[in-house]
């Protein structure tokens, strides 16, 4: 099963790659493997292309290899094999050019307890070799609602505020690529909204954003493309819309006037199930087969009429990315 999905994903990728230009990729990961000293194999030959200017969501359960992948690209972890190009620059041989492009918001809330917000954000800019630019720092702080806190010491800030500062630090040197590692873990609604506004603005200005998450609604709302990583392998890379279309299940639910004890023989050829003590009839089909099944639905409804079954209400629903994701990972295990 795993094989089928991967094959499909690769085919689709090839198809879309033909449409867009080959030079469009801003990050190219090639055969990347990582085996830690403990013997744990975090990545098993990962290939991945991130396109210029897109928002790419990397989904995967805990321990799937998301953070290891990001850490290698950003220079925090050495790869065991394979290579990574950032905007054409090798992350090892040409690390300066590669890293200058990248801003990283780490998963852990780390901070210099006694430094002020202003100092710690300015520190980040200097570290990347950029001339000091108070106006830029001010813009970044304001966009993250941190301006009032600029003189506060890090130790006095709440967790959410620290998260904002980490984002500000990553943006201090005007990166072209932004990595957000689990940006909304334990974050309140206001920050989430602020953060997505910042991400949208960045994208509008041409910045590529890569985020890891296991909150699927996040990917569903923001991402252009989605990659699923599980157990050190990229299981699938797909346009979000296409993914929803391809793998999403659609469900037609009919609320019946009189409960049925069993599905009548006349309807036995349809994949139907009864629910709610026979009061609800459910018809499940793949969203990708929508066109084929439109006739199916027509035929089904006719046959239901013919069988003398009356219904009071009907609705259809599409499965969310979350269900898709759970299915993928479960099949894989």
């Amino acid at each position: 099963m795993n094989h089928d999905i991967t094959a499909n994903a690769t085919l689709d990728e090839a198809a879309t790659a033909d449409v867009s230009e080959a030079t469009d990729s801003v990050i190219a990961v090639q055969g990347l493997s990582k085996r830690y000293a403990s013997g744990f194999e975090a990545l098993k030959g990962v290939d991945l292309e991130i396109r210029h200017g897109e928002i790419f969501a990397l989904l995967g359960p805990n321990g799937a290899g998301k953070t290891t992948l990001i850490s290698i690209i950003c220079g925090l972890v050495n790869a065991s094999a394979g290579r990574v190009l950032v905007d054409g620059h090798d992350i090892v041989d040409d690390y300066r050019a590669a890293r200058r492009q990248i801003g990283l918001v780490p998963q852990e809330l780390t901070s210099d307890a006694f430094a002020t917000v202003w100092n710690t954000v300015s520190f980040s800019r200097g570290l990347f070799g950029k001339r000091s630019d108070p106006a830029h720092i001010e813009r970044v702080l304001r966009s993250l609602s941190l301006w009032d806190k600029r003189r506060s010491k890090m130790i006095t800030l709440s967790g959410g505020m620290k998260r904002r500062v980490l984002i500000a630090k990553a943006l201090a040197h005007e990166p072209q690529i932004l990595f957000l590692d689990e940006p909304t873990a334990g974050v309140d609604v206001a920050l989430r909204r602020d953060m997505w506004n910042v991400v949208r603005d960045l994208r509008a200005s041409g910045v590529t954003v890569i985020l890891t998450t296991h909150y699927i609604e996040e990917a569903e709302e923001m991402a252009d493309r989605i990659g699923v990583i599980n157990d050190g392998d990229i299981v699938l890379v797909e346009e979000k819309a296409a993914l929803m279309r391809q793998l999403g299940r659609k469900r037609l639910t009919l609320h019946l006037q009189t409960p049925l004890a069993a599905i009548p023989d006349a309807l036995s050829e349809y994949p139907l199930t009864l629910a709610d003590d026979g009061r609800v009839l459910v018809y499940t089909y793949a969203a990708s087969d929508e066109h084929r099944h439109r006739d199916g639905i027509n035929a089904l409804l006719n046959d239901i009429q013919a069988a003398g079954i009356r219904f009071t209400d009907l609705h259809t629903e599409q499965s969310s990315l979350e269900e898709i994701f759970v299915n993928l990972v479960r099949k894989d295990a």
């Binding site: 950003c74 220079g75 990283l104 100092n119 570290l127």
Partner: protein, 253 residues
């Protein structure tokens, strides 16, 4: 060379020193004064002159060395251990900076702090005893080389240490004993002959001896031996730091 990054790290570290001014500067000054009161005044008054120098003045170079060694090690080890401990090291590792630049920033700041400290102790000492510096240029050279070398050693310890206990271990078990047994408070001529030979295995003896020579022109070992020894140390520390960054030891899995 990303000089701006070096300067950024350097200034950030120096800012940390100003924030912790009390621990960084005041406490070493107080402890030095205590040494003078106890060794210089109370005990020193009962000890005759050492090679024509009063005992109080004799211990000044040793005391400065003692402070320089311990403070360089603790400043530099803490400077790199702290970001490793809190996790903020991620930013330095992901920045477009070379290892040389990282070391320059952290070690440079630590060495600067201990040099400022050395100067303060020298001034403090001049209030207690009559001081004389025969070879100021040599004195400065020994100060700078020692501060650099032991800041590098501190940097290595800071990367090696995985917890606060380990961070304290080397200074407490190795640096302090070596310094106390390194002739800070005595000339090795005062020891029995057998111990004189053993003492020559202690690297700190060479540092203190050379440094004291720059003050009073008296030394336990030759100036050349002192200089050679500190250069050997410096090279060893540099090699170790290079190895750490080459292998990613304890900072980059």
């Amino acid at each position: 060379m990303n000089f701006r990054a070096v300067g950024t790290i350097y200034h950030f570290e120096m800012a940390r020193a100003w924030r912790t001014l009390l621990q960084s500067l005041v406490s070493p000054v107080i402890s030095t004064s205590l040494y003078f009161v106890v060794f210089g005044a109370a005990i020193g008054s009962r000890i005759q002159e050492v090679e024509g120098v009063s005992y109080g003045a004799f211990i000044v170079p040793g005391l400065i060395m003692l402070m320089l060694l311990t403070q360089s090690v603790s400043n530099a080890s803490f400077g790199i251990f702290f970001p490793k401990f809190t996790g903020t090291i991620y930013e330095v590792l992901s920045a477009p900076v070379s290892y040389v630049e990282i070391v320059l920033g952290y070690v440079g700041a630590a060495a600067t702090k201990s040099l400022i400290l050395g100067a303060i102790i020298l001034v403090t000492a001049s209030f207690f005893v009559p001081l004389r510096i025969d070879h100021p240029a040599w004195m400065l050279l020994f100060l700078v080389l020692t501060a650099l070398t032991f800041s590098l050693l501190g940097f290595i310890i800071g990367i090696w240490a995985e917890g606060f206990e380990k961070l304290q271990l080397v200074p407490l078990l190795i640096i302090t004993p070596l310094t106390f047994l390194g002739g800070s408070f005595y000339s090795i001529d005062m020891l029995p002959p057998a111990w004189q030979t053993v003492t020559l295995l202690n690297p700190v003896v060479y540092l203190v001896s050379g440094f004291r020579w720059s003050f009073y022109g008296i030394s336990d070992v030759s100036l050349g031996a002192s200089l050679l020894m500190i250069l050997v140390f410096l090279s060893l520390s540099l090699a170790l730091v290079a190895w750490i960054f080459k292998t990613g030891y304890n900072i980059k899995p």
